[in-house]
Symmetry: C2
Subunit: 256 residues, 2 copies
C-alpha cells in the first residue's frame, strides 16, 4: 500500500487533470467519488487502477478495503483527498478507473440511442433508467455529453457498469440495426407521428432520443423506420427529454 501526504506529489497533480475531458480521453481513465459508486465499480469488475482514501474512509470501510488488492490502495491525507475531490464535502474515498475497451456488443433486445443530448444530468439519468427498465444497452451518438464527468457518473449511480454504454456514430449504428432487421424508432413532437401506446409486442427495437432544444436531427429521422410521439394533453409545450425517454422505455419493455 502506498501513502501520499503532500498535495504537491507528482502523481496527485496528474490525477487532478482527470477533471478535464481531454486528459480523461488521452489516458483512458476517469475518477469516481464515494464508497457507493466505487463498490458498484468493483462488483461489476471494472478495471480499478487506484483507490485513494483518507482516515475517515479507512475507518468506515476497513473490512472492505482489506478485501481489495493492496497494490491498488493509496492512503492519503485529508488535504490530498480534498485537493483531488470535486465534491463540496469529499466522501473519504476516490477511485481511478480505466475506461472499458470496445466490447463486442450483441444487437438484441431494446437499445437507447442518444442524438446530441447535451445535458450531462439528462444523459446520466437516461442510462440509469435504461438499466432499470431492462434495456440491452445505450449508444451515445455525436454531440452527446461525455459520460465520465462527475455529474453524469453521479446521475448514473453505477448503471454504466450494468449495461454497455458505447460511443458510436448513430448513422453507422442505425444501419447495423436495420441490417439485423431490428426496427428503428425516432421521436418527434409531432402529433402526426405514431402515438407510443400503439407500439406493443416489440422484442427488439432501437429508440432514438434527441437534443433538448432541437430534438432528433432531420438527417437521423430520415433513416428511421417510424417516428413516435408522446401525446401532450395539458398546456405544456414539451416534456423533458429524460422524462420522455423514461415513459417510452418502460412502455416498450413492459409491453413486449
Amino acid at each position: 500500500m502506498k501513502e501520499i501526504l503532500s498535495t504537491k506529489n507528482t502523481m496527485i497533480k496528474e490525477l487532478k487533470k482527470l477533471h478535464k475531458k481531454k486528459h480523461r480521453e488521452d489516458n483512458q481513465e476517469y475518477m469516481i467519488e464515494g464508497f457507493h459508486l466505487i463498490e458498484e465499480a468493483v462488483k461489476a469488475n471494472a478495471q480499478i487502477k487506484w483507490i485513494l482514501f483518507n482516515q475517515r474512509g479507512e475507518s468506515e470501510w476497513s473490512a472492505w478495503l482489506n478485501n481489495q488488492s493492496q497494490e491498488q490502495l493509496i492512503r492519503v491525507s485529508d488535504e490530498v483527498l480534498e485537493s483531488i475531490s470535486e465534491l463540496p464535502t469529499p466522501q473519504g474515498m476516490i477511485a481511478i478507473i480505466m475506461m472499458p475497451t470496445e466490447e463486442d456488443i450483441q444487437l438484441e433486445g431494446g437499445w437507447l440511442l442518444l442524438d446530441n443530448v447535451q445535458d450531462p444530468g439528462n444523459v446520466g439519468t437516461m442510462i440509469r433508467t435504461a438499466d432499470a427498465a431492462g434495456l440491452s444497452g445505450v449508444i451515445l451518438g455525436e454531440g452527446s455529453s461525455d459520460i465520465y464527468n462527475t455529474k453524469v457518473l453521479r446521475a448514473m449511480q453505477g448503471s454504466n457498469y450494468h449495461l454497455p454504454v458505447i460511443r458510436k456514430p448513430l448513422v453507422e449504428m442505425i444501419n447495423k440495426f436495420k441490417a439485423a432487421k431490428i426496427p428503428v424508432y425516432g421521436t418527434e413532437l409531432n402529433p402526426e407521428a405514431i402515438a407510443y401506446q400503439k407500439l406493443t409486442g416489440l422484442d427488439q427495437y432501437a429508440l432514438i432520443m434527441g437534443n433538448e432544444g432541437q430534438g432528433v436531427s432531420s438527417e437521423i429521422l430520415e433513416l428511421t423506420d417510424e417516428t413516435i410521439y408522446i401525446p401532450i394533453r395539458g398546456a405544456a409545450e414539451s416534456l423533458n427529454v429524460a422524462i420522455a425517454a423514461g415513459i417510452l422505455m418502460y412502455h416498450l419493455e413492459l409491453n413486449k
Copy 2:
C-alpha cells in the same frame, strides 16, 4: 413608463432581495427571467407587478411591450438588468410577479402530491410533466422545494400557470381526498406493493411521490389506500423520482 438607470436605486435594491426565499414569502412576489417565461405568465393572467427590460429587450420585443399596460413597464440600463439577473447571460427582460392567492381547488381528476421532494429541478420537472400528462393539479407537502426559485421556474417552463400548484400539509389533503372517495396511492420501492401496470381505469386519483433518498415517509404511507411500485428489471437500485413520476402519471392518465 418608469426609467431606472442606477443600480443604487432603492427599488432595484429591494427587487434583488427577491432572490431570497424569505423575502419572496414576506412580499408574496417572485421574479422570472426571459421573454418566454414572461409571455407564458401574461398569457395565463398571472398578476404582473413590473416588467423590466433593457435596450436589447426593447428592440427584440417592442410590439409585445406596446401591448402591455404601460404602468407596469420599467426601462432599465444594462447594468441594472445585470445586477438583478441570476443568469450568466441576462436575457433582456425580467418580470416581478405576485404569487397567486389560495384558490378554491376542485378535487377531481388526477393529482400529484409531493412529500419532501427536495431537489428544485425534480420538483419543477414533475410539475411540467403533470401539466403535459393532463393532471388536475399538484400539492407540495412539507419539506418540498420552494417553487419560486429560478431553477424550479426554469424547469417548469410556465407549467405553474397551467394547473394549480398548492402548498398544503399532506395529511390534511389526504383526508380531503379520502372524504371525496378519491383513492390515494403511495409509491414505494417494494416488489410486494402493486405493480403500477395493474392500475387502469382510474378517473380520479391522488399519487404521492417521496423524498429522493428516503421515499414517501412511513406516516404518510400508512394513510394511503394502496402502495404501488415500478418494477426494476435491470441492476439499477432505483429510478430518479421525477422519472418514476413521469412513468406513473402517463400510465394513469392514458389508461383512464
